[in-house]
Subunit: 210 residues, 2 copies
Amino acid sequence: MDLYSYYRSTSSYRVRIALALKRLAYHALPVNLVAHGGEHLAPAYRALNPQGRVPTLRTDTGELLMQSPAIIEYLDECYPNPPLLPAEPLERARVRSVAALIGCDIHPLHNVAVLKRLRGLGVDEGDVTAWIGHWISEGFNAVEQMIGDHGFCFDTPGLADVYLVPQLYAARRFAVDLAAYPRILRVEGAALEHPAFQTAHPANQPDTPA
Amino acid sequence: MDLYSYYRSTSSYRVRIALALKRLAYHALPVNLVAHGGEHLAPAYRALNPQGRVPTLRTDTGELLMQSPAIIEYLDECYPNPPLLPAEPLERARVRSVAALIGCDIHPLHNVAVLKRLRGLGVDEGDVTAWIGHWISEGFNAVEQMIGDHGFCFDTPGLADVYLVPQLYAARRFAVDLAAYPRILRVEGAALEHPAFQTAHPANQPDTPA
């Protein structure tokens, strides 16, 4: 498989964790979101991904898939061991609700395109920082109540962690105060010690700046 | 089942379509997002849904589920006929990628909370309208290339339509020009004639204003 990704893109990081948890080998194809006006916006990349965003996965049979939620469910269906979701529908829904809250109501509000547009409206840097912090904090307030008391979000690493750990990386990057979230911080600690999460970390990618 | 919803909430509308396509009976419990400072923000509702957002589904066994992507996958797993997703993983990924693009990269940028916050930053109404139009148009540009040439998004009604039809309703509400999207408009036409989409429409809910 090939993965078009950017080292510190939240959604690329999610897919890298899923691949690493399943011990799937892939070829990383970096797409620089900041150089040359954004390689993701160039026609060559848009021919692969009509939205012009990372990540894009090319499967072993050459099919192109976009949107991290769809890619991750695909990987879990095609490579079920270890599973990213529990077996029982109600438990699956609880895990997916954490993933969806982060994937819909936190991350989209501070991605590269949205922050650029906010600045284009004349919003100053202080308000941009407050905007990012507001959505992360409001989302984490709910996530803190939705996850469990041991290990990863729900004991063993799974879909909720695939979303939460990259969101934590973004929260650190934007200097959001996390002291109110002991369960979330526990997950961050568990991920720091787990080989798959280490492999997938933005610090350890082929396009990570020196 | 009970569904806490608001008649014109995009994510409530999605779940209503899924329930109607599967011919599942439920008890509608309206949550007014605009009256009394927002009933979704009141402690009584937050006790059911820690995020304070609609929809919330109470299952037949009394379990509370939140986040429309998780609720819809749950319904599809528990009530598989008719299915909202194809059987084959690659085809499932293509359908889910349309749903995820709408659910992550369009709708979250114009929900009630986000527009309120934008206005709070002093962004004027003209720029708020342009902001909404930008994200819908940019997303629809990609969706138009991702869906098929017949019937609903992928022939028979399914998960992609569960997301696209409510997003179309929002696009109309915000007066977004849709002329560039003939495939998307074809799906809108198909939904207008389909009983499940009619039942789920914001015009036909118990809390729809007279």
